[in-house]
Structure formats: C-alpha cells, structure tokens
C-alpha cells in the first residue's frame, strides 16, 4: 500500500479513476483464490469498500418493493438498510420486529439453522455464515437446503461470507460450493476481519451472470449500474493492499492473523465453559455466543461492564432471537483477552 501511495507521485505510477468494478488484477486474484473451481469468473466480482457498504448498495438495487428474510438474531445492517429503503412496516415493540420482514429464528434448539418449511417466501434471504453474532457455520447439507428453498421460491440469497476464513471444519466457505447456487445467490465478502482492513476499507461482492430477475434481466447488469452511479470504486491504495493480501506471502499472513484471533476465541470459550456457561459459535468464527438463560441481555451487558469493565454486545441488539445471550468478540491484544478472562472468572466464580 505504501508503494502504491508513493507511485501516485510519479508520472508512470499515477492513476486516477479506476474501473468502478475494481482493478482487473484484484478481481482476477479474488476469483482465482476463492472461487477457482466454482465457476465464478473475474467478471462476476465487484470490488467494494466493504461488505456493509455493499449490503446497502444491494438494498438500493432491490428497491422498496422487495421483501426480505433475515436470520434472527442477525447482523443489524440487513434489517436497518431494509427499513431505510422502505421495504418494511413499523417497528412492533411487543415482538421487537419490523413489519414485513421475515425473521428466521436460529437458536441452539434448531442447530442455528431455520426450519425452512415454516418460512414463507420472500424475495431476498440474507444469510450470514459463519454467523455474526452466533458464530454458527452452516453445513453443506444445510446450505443445500437453503439453495433448494431459494430455487423453489424463486428467491435471491444474499450470502454474507465475511468470516469464511475462520472456518476450521469442512463447512462450506462459499455458497457457490453448493450446486445451483449461481442461479440464486449473491455473495458478499470482506478483507476487514482477515487482513485487519476495518479502517482500510476493502471487500467484494460476487453477482453471477446466471442470476436473473423474473423478466430475465441479469442482476449483475443493474448492480453494475448502481456501482457506477452511487459509488466510484474502492480506494486504489486499498486495492493494492488487497492484491498484497492475495499473494502467497499475504495469504499466509492473513491465515496467521485469523489463527491469532481464533486462539483468543479459545481462551474466551474455555473461560466461560469452565464457569459453567453454555457457549455456542467460536469454532468457526471470532464470536462466542454465551447463554444467560432467563436474563435480559442488556442487564447482563450492563453487569459485565459495570463490574468487570468489559464491553460485550447484548444479544437482543441483533434481534429478538438474541435475547438471553451475550456476544463476546475475540478481537483484541492477547494480554487484554487474558485479562478479560481473569475478570470474568472473578465476576462469575
């Protein structure tokens, strides 16, 4: 990134507007690294300034008439962007849900995968795996069900794979590992949690050419129009960094970073487990989903903050399905994680 920055001061190295879809080399590297045998090509990749921004642009693309389904609990940006785009009704305090959104409960009881037989059709299904906040990674079998469900209903899945590199077992890393997914799914991804690019801003979205609206119009064509009109490309310096990430040395480095956070996760899991809590997630994600049965999650959040000076995230912030849980994230310096573990042991011994 420093090299690219310096080059911008030279006649040969200066570049102005880049292709809105992203620099060709980076798109090719993303396709080759993550989608090599999955039939996804460089031209299906749209480089972005991060998954959250892409979620919003996808919502602009779908428009106000689209109806969405989300996991419950889920990353709040899917719901909030839906509200902003006019897709929803009012917030219903009693059930903590917005009207016209389908909330698909994901809990320990159903292995954090919704019972699709009881989920009505929606146009769009947001699905995040490994999941924020529960940490659950869907199995091949579950994702096959999801793709079939989308196919049967003529829906579009927006698959958020921002944490895919945290997977330790053989859970699929990309929705496109499932046959037929190219005709029903968009996948969004990010360098944020692999390369520490939360401030640098870089991600990508895959919109396969096979994905068509009901009138046969390719979704990618409209998404391209959105990207050209509402956006002007990710920073060229960030893109140079992305290319560096995807070099052999970069891939190894990202893997080490992920490994470091996974070690943090293990410390947190062991701490809560030894204190007698039921914890979920963690194996394939940097999040630990801790159950506090019968307790209000904001109360638990306040208690942990007040008594241990630790910041966590109350589960109900992710939807009514998060009530009774607290999300503990494993990002942090090792010494801080260890100190946090010590304080939790004190608090809940």
């Amino acid at each position: 990134m420093a090299e690219r920055a310096h080059a911008l001061s030279t006649v040969d190295g200066y570049s102005g507007y880049g292709a809105e879809q992203g620099e060709k080399k980076l798109r090719a590297a993303v396709a080759a690294t993550y989608y090599a045998d999955l039939g996804i090509e460089e031209t299906d990749i749209f480089v972005s300034d991060g998954a959250k921004c892409d979620i919003s642009r996808l919502q602009v693309l779908f428009g106000s008439n689209a109806k969405i389904a989300v996991q419950d609990p889920s990353y709040p940006a899917y719901v909030d962007s839906s509200v902003i785009m006019g897709q929803t009704g009012l917030y219903q305090e009693d059930v903590q849900k917005y009207g016209n959104i389908e909330y698909m409960r994901c809990s320990p009881e159903n292995g954090f995968f919704p019972d699709l037989s009881s989920v009505p059709r929606t146009d769009i299904i947001f699905f995040c795996s490994p999941n924020n906040p529960t940490g659950a990674a869907a199995s091949r079998e579950q994702l096959t069900q999801l793709v079939k469900f989308a196919k049967d209903n003529g829906s579009i899945i927006v698959y958020d794979s921002a944490y895919a590199m945290y997977i330790s077992d053989d859970s699929p890393k990309s929705i496109f590992e499932i046959p037929g997914a190219k005709e029903v799914a968009i996948e969004t991804a990010s360098f944020s949690k692999y390369a520490g690019f939360t401030g640098v801003r870089l991600g990508w979205t895959v919109v396969p050419k096979e994905l068509l609206f009901s009138d046969g119009h390719p979704v990618a064509k409209d998404f391209n129009r959105i990207v050209c009109t509402c956006f002007n490309g990710a920073s060229n310096i960030s893109q140079a960094g992305g290319l560096g990430c995807l070099s052999p040395e970069g891939l190894k480095a990202m893997s080490d970073v992920v490994g470091f956070y996974k070690e943090n996760t293990k410390i947190i899991v062991d701490t809560f487990t030894s204190l007698g809590f039921n914890v979920y997630g963690a194996k394939n994600a940097p999040y630990v989903w801790v159950h506090f049965p019968g307790r209000n999650s904001w109360d638990v959040f306040a208690e942990i903050l007040e008594k241990a000076h630790l910041v966590t995230t109350p589960g109900s912030g992710f939807g009514p399905g998060g009530e009774g849980f607290v999300r503990v994230s494993a990002f942090g310096h090792r010494e801080n994680i260890i100190e946090a573990a010590r304080r939790l042991e004190q608090l809940y011994k």
Binding site: S9, Y14, M85, R201, I226
Partner: protein
C-alpha cells in the same frame, strides 16, 4: 466497463424477484462509462491512434510527494502495534474534520462536528438521496452533473423519461449563455431539494455572490434544502470574487448542505476522499436535525472513508501540501486557458474555463453526440457531448482540461486543424 450480458436463453433459470422498476426508468448507462465504451470502441477501430482524452474529468497529474508520503507512512504504521487502527469513526477522523472546518471554511462558522468525511462526492450524493427518500421532489440545473438525476431516479423520486430525456417529476432549471448560466428562479416551481453545482460541471460557470444570494433566498422562501456541490471550488480564481462555498452567503446554514471532494483538488479520483457539511441549523419541517438522520445513514450504509486516504487528506490541507496542490491545479487551469484560447481563435462561442477545469463550447444547430463522434473520428480526441448532461446541454460539447500540458497542447493543435 462493458458487461457482456447476452439476452438470456429461455431455458435459463429466472428468479421470481421483480426487477426494481426504478432501474428500468434509467434511459441508458451512466454517462461516463458510456464515454469509456466509446473510447474503447475507437481504440479497437484505430489501434495505433494516439487518443487524447479531454472527456471524463479524470485527473492526470501526480499527487505531490508530501501527500503520498503521508499516506505511505500511515500505511506502514498499520503494521505496528502503536500505529495500527481499525474502524475509524464513521463520520471520519477528528483531525481531518477539524482541518476542513478550520481551513476550507475559515471564518464561516462551520464546526468540525458538522463535517462528514466520505469516499467522494458521488457517493455522498447517493447517500443524501437515500436520506431524502422517494417522496422528495428535486430541482437540478440543466445541464447538470448526471449523478443528481440518476440517483434521484434510482431512489424512486421520478417518473419515466420523455423523448427529450427529461424525467417526469424533476424540475429542470435551464442554465444557458442567455441567462448567464443562472436560472430565472421566478419561473422555477418549489421543490424539496435543489441541487446546485458551482463552479459548474459541465458549463464551467461560477455563480456570483449575487446569484447565490438569490438561490439562498429562494430556498428560504420555499422551505427547500439546497445541496451545493463545491467539488471544483479550488478552481475559482481569487480575482473573480466568486464565492467558494455556499456558507459565504448569509442564511445558508439554515438551508444548505455542501458536498465537496479531494478528487479534482488533489488528484484523489482513485484514492477516494471527500466530505459533506450538514449544519446543525438545517432542520426538517418537524424540527428534527437533518444531520442526525444523515449520521444514521452514514453509520448504517457506510463504514468511513479509507483511513489511509484520510491521512492523505490531512496532508493536503497542511501549508506545504496546499501549496504543492495549488501548483497542480495551476497546470489544469493553464490547460483550460489554452483550450479557451484555441476554441475562441476558431471563432467558437466558448464558456467556462476561467474558474473551472471545464470548457463549454457551442456548436449551434448540431447534435452534440454527432459533434462528439466527428471530433473523435477526425482528431482522436475524446470530449463529452453536452446532451449527456441534460437537454439543456444539446448543442454544446464539454472539453475537460485535465491532462498533461503536452497532451492538451497537442489536442489543441489537432482541434485547430479540424475546426479551421
């Protein structure tokens, strides 16, 4: 880029998701990628032609070292425990916001808290349209930067376009040589939002203090919000006396949002950095602050401009950085002067070019896409047809002054022999 999307084979799977009807309303591709496509096609036809682009307003000159060094340093620091930073505030780094408030808006009472850092003005326009929602009515200059209109269409603020290219529901405010490029506001109907760009893309006209006073008064009387695009303010010559910011006009704080960008100022077209000012006094009809909702949009739909770009922005605003950047702007302004001179010497009616990197040349009685094609075919110079900016642009060509001095001089030679 051009997507090779073939008409789908009837046997292909189609989802049951309806295409967004607003996307269908868009007449064709966004103007600038369309120009890019023409550029590519021309290169295929004449692989050995030395095509000079005075088309898309893309900066060409290197960024001063003091700025890129700051960005490189920041990037390297990200590899150290002390220098690493993750998510920044969605509104942007405090030091950059303060630098903008203090230096760009010196004496105008803009607070650091009113500045929202972005990844560029086009992105901010889209987020502002999302903020305003589908029920607002908008007015735009005609001709105008297409981003205001296209984002309005996408957000569902308009009906379909007519054969002349005007979208139903948008108030088009004609800006032409005949009215000194400022609309007759007495004939403009009230809209919720008024997009106004000065120095103007594409006409190059810079609105006078008096004109902007009229605009602010008009907005006040109508209870409208002005979105003032000052992306080219650094091209305003000091001697012109023209305002560089809407906030130089008394009363503007209560009616105007200002968007701006480092793109044409510092060559950041690829680096991506800009800002929006939303003053505390700007309120909706129910008294709630516009800034509060904009902050919510920025936190929900965006995650901040790249931290590295922001470090560069700060360096741009330092004394040394500013001075170096003025040097680059000087190159483009000199290019503009030469272009104006060239067209004038050929007997053409020329506008802009003095306080702007754009030169607006009249070709009376001719279709601008035809003139564009003819200039491209005969001189291998890319321009932009005026009608791409709205029906008010028909009969004009926009020529941009970005380019190295040598390339612009060569382009001028070719244009002279073609138009003589």
């Amino acid at each position: 880029m051009r997507l090779t999307c073939t008409i789908s084979d009837p046997a292909s799977w189609r989802t049951s998701v309806l295409r967004n009807p607003n996307m269908e309303k868009l007449k064709k591709g966004y103007l600038f990628p369309e120009i890019g496509i023409k550029h590519e096609e021309h290169l295929k036809k004449y692989p050995h032609a030395k095509v000079i682009s005075l088309g898309i307003g893309d900066t060409t000159e290197p960024i001063p070292k003091i700025v890129t060094s700051a960005m490189a340093e920041y990037a390297l620091a990200l590899s150290t425990p002390e220098g690493y930073q993750g998510y920044g505030p969605e509104k942007g780094h405090k030091n950059l916001r303060k630098a903008i408030a203090d230096k760009v808006y010196s004496g105008m009472g803009i607070k650091e808290s009113e500045v929202f850092i972005s990844d560029g003005a086009q992105c901010d326009i889209a987020r502002l349209q999302m903020l305003f929602g589908s029920n607002v009515t908008i007015a735009v200059q005609d001709p105008t930067f297409p981003g205001y209109v296209d984002n309005g269409v996408i957000m569902g603020q308009t009906g379909k376009a007519d054969d002349g290219g005007k979208y139903a529901g948008i108030e088009y405010m004609r800006c032409a040589p005949e009215n000194a490029f400022f609309p007759d506001l007495s004939r403009v109907r009230r809209t919720d939002v008024i997009f106004f760009c000065s120095p103007n893309n594409p006409t190059g006209h810079v609105a006078s203090r008096e004109q902007l006073r009229q605009l602010v008064d008009f907005a006040r009387r109508n209870g409208s919000i002005v979105v003032f695009d000052s992306a080219y303010s650094s091209y305003v010559s000091a001697c012109s006396g023209a305002p560089r910011s809407i906030y130089e006009i008394p009363g503007a704080r209560e009616v105007a949002i200002e968007v701006s960008s480092f793109s044409k100022f510092a060559g950041f077209t690829g680096v991506r950095l800009g800002w929006a000012v939303v003053p505390d006094e700007l309120l909706y009809s129910d008294g709630s602050p516009v800034a509060r909702d904009f902050d919510r949009i920025v936190c929900t739909c965006f995650n901040g401009a790249s931290s590295i770009a922001q470090a560069g922005g700060l360096a741009c605003l330092s004394e040394e950085g500013s001075a170096a950047i003025q040097g680059v702007i000087g190159v483009y302004k000199e290019n503009a002067r030469v272009l104006v001179e060239t067209f004038e010497s050929l007997g053409k009616e020329v506008h802009g070019g003095a306080n702007s990197p754009y030169v607006w040349v009249r070709f009376p009685g001719r279709r601008s896409w035809d003139v564009f094609a003819e200039i491209l075919e005969k001189t291998h110079v890319i321009t932009v047809p005026g009608s791409g900016f709205g029906p008010g642009g028909e009969g004009f060509i926009r020529v941009s002054a970005f380019g190295s001095k040598d390339r612009v001089l060569e382009a001028c030679e070719r244009l002279k022999s073609f138009l003589a």
